[in-house]
Subunit: 392 residues, 2 copies
């Protein structure tokens, strides 16, 4: 029972990667950066197309160097060489990993030595929402060996590029969002009184994969009388009860791209409070969708969504962020938050994700996925029903 | 169709976490370490029981401080507070994340200031198979703000503890390995000529989850005429053909614990070379299983497995590692490799994973999961058939 939307082609033509690289190099030149050293699965994949679940093994580091001109250089464990050779990358330098004495460090030193000597700037992603994807002791060793290496932060360059999606990326996101929508539509088939939440999760995953998802790696949710109190829990074995409000929030994947949205249901009965919270959240989401036009900022969206939430908000104003970027990661830049003045651009893909606290320690979340088009938002997820749906 | 093995209880009693913490504190005292700052999902979960898929969102850092005495202290985003309160942890310090200006850093500074003042040693995992799970710029800021902070590497302490599994951990590993075995046994039901490898992957995931896995996050494999040439690929849409050798390698999870093993099949026909490779690998695996006794080292296992592989090895001696630890991560310490002299201890859970290159750029892998018992290995995975099985 795959979704009716036509399945996109897996992968990307080489042109996509050369364009991404050229765009990065233009920004690097403007910032006087002689090369960028990247280490995360998504950043390496963005510039190469190197796509493997093997990154789930945390044993080995992987490196990609984007020079000022020409193709990126891969410095990777030998086990990845065969797969990397299938990408557009030509310069592939490998070592027999794992090797605790030298896990790619001497290869990195060889590569970076000329830049250190010339005191040219090398970019590294060291800012917000990044991690140093190698052992800290290896990083210290690299810097000790390369006296004079000038490291600058290129978080903004890479995140800025990745925020705006290509046509092919949007096709993949649209496809996985359609699959997520179909999986949510099937929930009434298996969720009802007496079914443990754990089994609802299992059936949801089966449904998502049967509808065409490669996997449903992210699935959280909750169910409780009159509402739920946290939104990041794994499932319990507690059976669904009359009067529960249930929420499921999923990140399903197709060809390395995520959807990320949630749905709420009442089990046979909903309190007035929960119906009201749902209504406020639905309208807050709608306001966000309508405001998602090129030129408006993330802060603008945050403020207009927050204004609707204020009708019922009990959080004392600390409502966190109300949406985020979406793509190769479940959550990406930008943030719909008071601190983020990023201007929305055509082809950004974001989530609109308001949340409310209400009653005695309860909370509710809503989420939709959209792509920013010249005239405004195009929904990628099927819009949630206007009233809290009931499972009977 | 869940597996017949009795399902273990989810989570752990608090006693498990207090014992892990006490064991760590004993090692910390012996190394004059006044506290450990941990940041990875698995290390935080190991000492707290804090278990959520929300870590898949890379936006926020999470911190756990293990002091010299008493319970660990959680320094985490507010969104995790409710779930952390359900664990044995009492001191939970939160901030409204994400916050690019201060993502937990001032809370960390407050916590660590007294240690910096007294010039006491604070442990951080900065060695092999680790990453710095926070932005590098935040790490630099922390060190600038805490002049005199003495950081020492505690990779060995934490990895050393995690290598030896508790009874409850082994029950979870045994359960997920039984599920993985059942999923592999079902492969002949859906894999045959004309089915695209992508569909085999989809059916395998559905089978694993139907058999009781929470998810099958890791699934790689390949199929090709007479053999395959890389073992970390996502699936292609190429239909299975007469004469293919197909391999599937999976990490399925249950309650946060992984199995990690693979299986090979021929499609209607197998070359003599591939049958011979299979036989050598089966016997190499068997040798490793038989040598997995307390007192033998990882190096011992590596050497006796490699001796069997030498019958057919075409890799020029660079055969990498031949197995690894298994638990909360798909791959953990130790490594069955020439560089690892770790002594096997009772209740270590490891994979035996020999690989061979043969023919014209082909390779084959075998893998089984075992727990080290006083008298030798206990198989957690069902042993692969002694001859290369054929799908017809």
């Amino acid at each position: 029972m795959p979704v009716s939307l036509e399945k996109p082609i897996r992968g990307f033509p080489d042109k996509e990667f050369s364009e991404r690289t050229t765009n990065a190099q233009t920004l690097m030149a403007a910032n006087d950066v002689a090369g960028m050293l990247l280490m995360s699965e998504q950043d390496v994949r963005y510039f190469t197309g190197f796509h493997t679940l093997f990154w789930q093994s945390p044993t080995r580091p992987w490196f990609l160097f984007v020079p000022a001109t020409g193709k990126p250089v891969a410095i990777i464990p030998e086990i990845g060489a065969e797969l990397m050779r299938q990408t557009w990358i030509e310069d592939i330098r490998t070592w027999g990993a794992p090797n605790p004495e030298d896990d790619g460090i001497s290869l990195l030193i060889d590569l970076l030595k000329p830049f250190a000597k010339e005191r040219e700037k090398i970019g590294l992603m060291k800012g917000h929402e990044t991690k140093l994807q190698m052992p800290l002791s290896d990083w210290e060793r690299l810097n000790t060996s390369l006296q004079g290496l000038k490291i600058v932060d290129v978080t903004g360059i890479v995140q800025g590029l990745r925020m705006v999606k290509s046509k092919a990326e949007i096709q993949k996101l649209k496809y996985i969002c359609a699959i997520g929508s179909a999986a949510f539509e099937a929930v009434p088939e298996f969720a009802h009184i007496g079914i443990p939440l754990e089994e609802v999760f299992r059936e949801f995953r089966l449904s998502a994969i049967s509808h065409g998802a490669d996997d449903a790696p992210y699935l959280v949710g909750a169910a409780g009388q009159g509402g739920y109190s946290n939104v990041i829990s794994p499932p319990t074995q507690r059976p669904l009860q009359h009067g529960d409000i249930m929420m499921l929030d999923t990140g399903c994947t197709w060809d390395g791209y995520f959807c990320d949205f949630d749905r709420n249901w009442s089990i046979e009965h909903a309190t007035e409070d929960s119906k009201r919270a749902y209504d406020v959240l639905w309208r807050a989401t709608q306001t966000g969708i309508e405001a998602a036009k090129p030129g408006n900022t993330c802060l603008d969206l945050f403020e207009c969504i927050a204004a609707v939430l204020a009708e019922m908000d009990q959080s004392g104003g600390d409502i966190g962020r109300l949406g985020h970027g979406l793509g190769m990661q479940l959550t990406e830049q930008p943030s719909l938050a008071s601190f983020d003045a990023t201007e929305l651009k055509e082809n950004m893909v974001i989530t609109i994700e308001p949340s409310l606290s209400y009653g005695d320690g309860l909370m509710m979340v809503h989420e939709e996925n959209i792509v920013v088009r010249p005239d405004g938002a195009e929904l990628l997820s099927s819009r949630a029903p206007v009233d809290l749906p009931m499972l009977i």
